[in-house]
């Protein structure tokens, strides 16, 4: 567990970490921001561009060496041809029994698994699931996010870098065209996860420096620094009402925060004076306060709560090892957490009570997610398994495993909840149909071998694309779903869901590994090893060109958010002013550098 030095905010000593290993062979490179001409090129992953920074955390722990002997890996993965039940000559993967662990939890970061899989055919399950492909716009709004942010008002002509078959359509497909919009600086360590709130207005970032920060998604203003964890923060999750944030840390605790006040999000103040004081909040650049709080926190006992529960403002305690992934249920009443202790916990958020412990995996749980109606939880682990759980009973309903058994580093449900997207450490992202248990798509082209990088589904609609001229009829409205993922070479890669083709690559978004990408309509955020959070905006392809006359209305009437497709001059002026505002607000000039690339 990495200690946070209160003076500098960076971890002291050799910070061990779990997932994120460093590429050593790396050239230095200045961050290349996605400029319009460089972005659409589908260049192969350039894995040699990583700087050999001295990383704060996320370096491989020297003390972990896993010796896993998985015997009998020969597989005969034939699936039954028909739907009748029959025996499979199954893989003799005696996973749980024949694992020899040398020391309790010692694993090498270069996980050398002996895979000697013999002839294994691709699965051909014949259980065919019929899909209803009728699109209806209202239903398919994923996660019921109301896209209220960007409403550019420009028509969108056909664009250049799309697959050929799309040209034949009457309406050109929406293609993501994200450009860097804001650069959020302030974290003193690698930013392990960044997420946009469900209402699209806020950005939360979790960092190895032991803090989480909340930013305004439209202006990039830094709003809160959440100090309280005693080690690097690995994960965070937004509650569906966007008012509560959960963070999970290497100090084994999960903390809930109120977004508005920045204080721990539970109000009962009984027998927790020390706890309340210890968990300080740093508003707007109060670095001294942060240090003081951190110092106080360091001196205190790191767990006022009862094990497996919470009293007062204490954190959610119960995991025996690093908390590594978090997800809120769609109603916000359940929080799922995955940990290095190989379990998935379901917490009753209201009471802070451990509701159910799922004996999930035989390796650290690297990702959890809820499906859209909250009845299913998916978890994945570096043991290569993806498990789907029934939330209400806690039973495992399905286990998904790829034939090569690559470690799975992240997992999420598709917006409609019918598929599971798994990020595995063989440079592949796989789309699983969890009902049939088969891989539907494999997305490749990014680099992911050692770190648990994150990605998500993104959906672009006419609304995001400035579709005021588009017909309002639901059937006519276009939707483009894509998959966005970070890449270990610092890029952000986006794939078309159906064709598996790369439709945008933002090169060099981060210096070093890009850890996490989250998309909310026309906004995309990313975080990386360099400690930065970057905000990207989708830009309709010809918007700025048409508005050369400078006739812009920089604010959309409904909510006053600035549109992203202003003319360069106006945008630059607005940016300067915005930046001044941001700095004034933050009270720490230079903390926020904002760059608009046009």
């Amino acid at each position: 567990m990495s200690e946070v030095d209160p003076a500098s905010g960076v971890p002291i000593s050799e910070p061990p970490s779990k997932r994120r290993r460093v590429h050593d062979d790396s050239l230095d490179s200045t961050p290349q921001y996605g400029s319009p001409d460089s972005a659409p090129q589908n260049s192969p992953p350039n894995s040699g561009r990583l700087p050999d920074q001295s990383l704060s955390i996320r370096r491989g722990p020297p003390s972990r060496s896993r010796s896993r002997s998985r015997d009998g890996d020969a597989t005969m993965d034939n699936e039954n041809e028909d739907n009748r039940r029959r025996y499979h000559s199954s893989r003799s993967r005696s996973r749980s029994s024949s694992r020899a662990r040398s020391t309790p939890r010692s694993r090498s970061q270069s996980r050398d698994r002996h895979r000697s899989r013999s002839a294994s055919y691709s699965r051909s399950r014949s259980r065919s699931v019929t899909h209803d492909h009728s699109r209806s716009r209202s239903q398919s709004r994923s996660r019921s996010r109301s896209r209220s942010l960007s409403s550019p008002s420009h028509p969108q002509p056909p664009t250049h870098d799309k697959p050929d078959h799309h040209h034949r359509h009457d309406q050109p497909p929406l293609l993501p065209n994200y450009h860097q919009h804001l650069l959020l600086q302030g974290h003193k360590g690698a930013v392990s996860q960044v997420r946009i709130s469900p209402d699209g207005r806020w950005i939360a970032s979790a960092s190895a420096d032991g803090t989480a920060k909340i930013w305004d998604a439209s202006t990039g203003a830094h709003l809160e620094t959440l100090v309280g964890h005693m080690a690097g923060v690995s994960c965070l999750a937004w509650a569906p009402d966007s008012n509560t944030l959960a963070t999970g840390s290497d100090d084994k605790a999960i903390r809930l925060w109120d977004r508005v006040t920045g204080s721990p999000a539970h109000a009962v103040a009984h027998r927790e004076n020390t706890a309340a004081d210890m968990v300080g909040v740093v508003k707007k650049g109060g670095v001294a306060a942060a240090k003081a709080a951190a110092r106080r926190a360091r001196m205190g006992v790191p767990g006022e709560g009862v094990r497996g529960g919470r009293t007062g403002r204490g954190p959610l305690l119960g995991h025996h090892n690093y908390v590594y992934c978090l997800a809120f249920s769609p109603k916000g009443n359940i929080l799922a957490s995955g940990s290095y202790d190989e379990a998935v916990f379901l917490w009753d958020v209201r009471a802070g009570r451990l509701m159910r412990s799922l004996p999930a995996h035989s390796d650290p749980v690297s990702g959890v997610d809820f499906c859209r109606d909250g009845t299913l939880v998916v978890s994945c682990s570096t043991d290569g398994l993806i498990r789907v759980w029934d939330t209400s009973t806690g039973q495992c309903l399905r286990t998904l495993v790829h034939e090569d058994n690559p470690a799975v580093a992240n997992v999420c449900f598709s917006p409609n909840g019918r598929f599971v997207l798994a990020f595995s450490l063989d440079n592949s992202i796989r789309l699983w149909d969890y009902v049939s248990g088969s891989v539907k798509k494999t997305y490749q082209g990014h680099s992911n071998k050692g770190f648990s990088i994150g990605g998500c589904f993104g959906v672009l609609t006419d609304h995001d694309d400035g579709g005021e001229e588009q017909p309002a009829d639901d059937d006519e409205s276009r939707q483009q779903s894509f998959i966005a993922s970070a890449s270990e070479d610092g890029d952000i890669v986006m794939w078309d869901v159906k064709s598996k083709g790369i439709i945008q690559r933002i090169e060099g978004a981060h210096d070093g590994v890009c850890f996490c990408v989250d998309v909310y309509g026309g906004i995309m955020v990313s975080s990386g090893q360099d400690g930065f959070v970057k905000v990207f905006r989708h830009r309709p392809k010809s918007g700025p060109v048409k508005r050369e006359d400078g006739d812009v209305n920089g604010f959309s009437g409904a909510n006053g958010h600035r549109e992203e497709d202003e003319t360069p001059d106006a945008a630059a002026a607005a940016d300067e002013e915005l930046q001044r505002q941001v700095e004034a607000e933050a009270g720490s000039p230079g903390q926020h550098v904002k760059e608009e690339q046009l």
Partner: protein
């Protein structure tokens, strides 16, 4: 979504064993909301507790009554909850902020109050030794209409003595249970004389009346569709009736018929029934028994007893069936715990290992022709990728059940300040205080607060207590 993966549809559709026991104070009545994700419970101390069935934890506490809660009724959207108490009042709660939306005071204890199925600004209340009322709270000042319990007698009787006698009789005739029909245009009312009245909600006149039971009608329940009526009466017989569509335009008042479908009774033990409930579809009828621990479940199609549910050694009061799951909630009369019966599906072990399939009998494995052929890794990889030509749709939601997918559905805020209020101290205090306050005149059903024993407390914090106490 989990229905795609589970075999739960194979399971029986009535509950089997007790799966949870939750407690917050001494609950006397419970009610599920329409979506079935929350359970409201009313306590003897007047507190209304909203339970989240997913977490089995308290989602809200509503304080405003000071007496035993007698009935609860959810609005269609799930945002409003009407609670009525013995303390002569009914409160409509707004669950968005947990405050009282409206409060209506009566001049008598309330047997039960039910919200209009579509309009949460209207409700009916059956009052103790008073005529029932229809209350309209659309305007800031509520409007009350007294509803009749007796059919108007034709004014032909000239004899004053007879008239007086009739008036006396009518004055004794009280409504003890009243519910809205599914459309909300009519009211079904049960009386102390065992009569079932149909009241037009607009004209507020009885359009039909029939004696259906020989005792006091204590409970009236309709299925979700409103086509079946369940009547519990003090003559130890549970009856189901078929309710005609009363909302048709060409309704002929003279031809209304409420045909009796089934009578459920225990002729051997002569049991009387505390409370009754329809299952989600109306396929089953469940009843809690007086002076007995068991819950009875009958199948309505054949009218046969299918199950006697055993639970804790405690008489159960109000029971409620979940609106779409095989789940029963019942209030223990003595302890005030809420016991939940449900079905538990066993873990399928094949789900844990994808290569295994559970088979009923031995299956001979037939090796495929090319099963052990050796191909280069790249070729396999390439072939595998090439096979991924299926069209996937990650956006369109398959609207299977239509339940809970409403976009504007009310979402209960998540509260963090509920605290540890389910402590033993509160429980003891409450029960003692309530016992003292309880007036002997109240004989409403399901409120027989037994002698409180402070032993064997199982806090609701234990949550998933699969306790089956013997």
């Amino acid at each position: 979504m989990n229905l795609l993966l589970s075999d739960d549809y194979l399971l029986q559709d009535y509950p089997e064993n007790i799966t949870n026991t939750i407690r917050s104070g001494h609950s006397t009545c419970v009610r599920f909301n329409r979506k079935g994700d929350f359970l409201a419970s009313g306590r003897v101390d007047g507190t209304v507790v909203i339970w989240d069935l997913e977490t089995m934890g308290v989602a809200r506490k509503l304080r405003g009554h000071s007496k035993n809660i007698t009935s609860l009724s959810w609005s269609r959207c799930g945002r409003y909850l009407l609670s009525a108490c013995q303390g002569w009042k009914a409160i409509l709660w707004d669950l968005q902020d947990g405050k009282r939306h409206r409060e209506v005071r009566f001049r008598a204890p309330v047997y039960g109050a039910e919200l209009h199925p579509w309009n949460h600004h209207q409700f009916v209340a059956a009052l103790f030794e008073d005529q029932p009322m229809l209350v309209d709270i659309t305007d800031p000042a509520d409007v009350r209409y007294v509803l009749p319990s007796v059919t108007k007698r034709p004014n032909t009787e000239t004899d004053a003595a007879v008239r007086e006698k009739h008036a006396k009789e009518d004055a004794k005739h009280m409504t003890t249970a009243i519910v809205y029909t599914a459309a909300g245009d009519h009211l079904l009312a049960g009386t102390t004389k065992g009569r079932l009245n149909i009241i037009d909600a607009k004209t507020r006149e009885i359009i039909y009346s029939e004696k259906i039971a020989s005792g006091i009608i204590t409970t009236l329940r309709l299925t979700e569709s409103g086509k079946e009526l369940l009547v519990n009466a003090q003559d130890r017989i549970i009856r189901t009736f078929i309710v005609p569509n009363l909302s048709t335009t060409d309704l002929d008042l003279d031809t209304i018929q409420i045909p009796l479908e089934h009578k459920f009774q225990d002729v051997v033990n002569r049991l009387s029934w505390n409370h009754v409930a329809f299952s989600a579809t109306g396929e089953y009828v469940a009843a809690s028994t007086y002076n007995n621990h068991e819950l009875y479940i009958w199948e309505r199609g054949h009218g046969s007893l299918v199950r006697m549910l055993e639970g804790p050694k405690e008489e159960q009061g109000v029971i409620e069936w979940h609106p779409h799951r095989a789940l029963l909630a019942a209030c223990g009369l003595e302890t005030g715990r809420i016991n939940i019966w449900s079905v538990t599906s066993p873990q399928r072990w094949s789900a844990l290992a994808p290569d295994f399939v559970e088979v009923e009998e031995n299956v001979e494995y037939v090796e495929k022709e090319d099963e052990f052929d050796i191909h280069p890794q790249e070729e396999i990889q390439k072939r595998r990728l090439d096979q991924e030509d299926e069209d996937v749709d990650v956006l369109t939601v398959e609207n299977s059940a239509g339940l809970g997918d409403d976009v504007d559905a009310f979402r209960m805020p998540i509260l963090f300040n509920l605290g540890e209020s389910d402590s033993e101290e509160e429980f003891v205090n409450v029960s003692l205080g309530t016992l003292r306050r309880k007036s002997p005149g109240d004989q409403d059903e399901g409120e027989m607060t037994g002698e409180e024993k402070g032993t064997g407390k199982k806090t609701s914090g234990a949550g998933r207590g699969r306790g089956r106490r013997k």
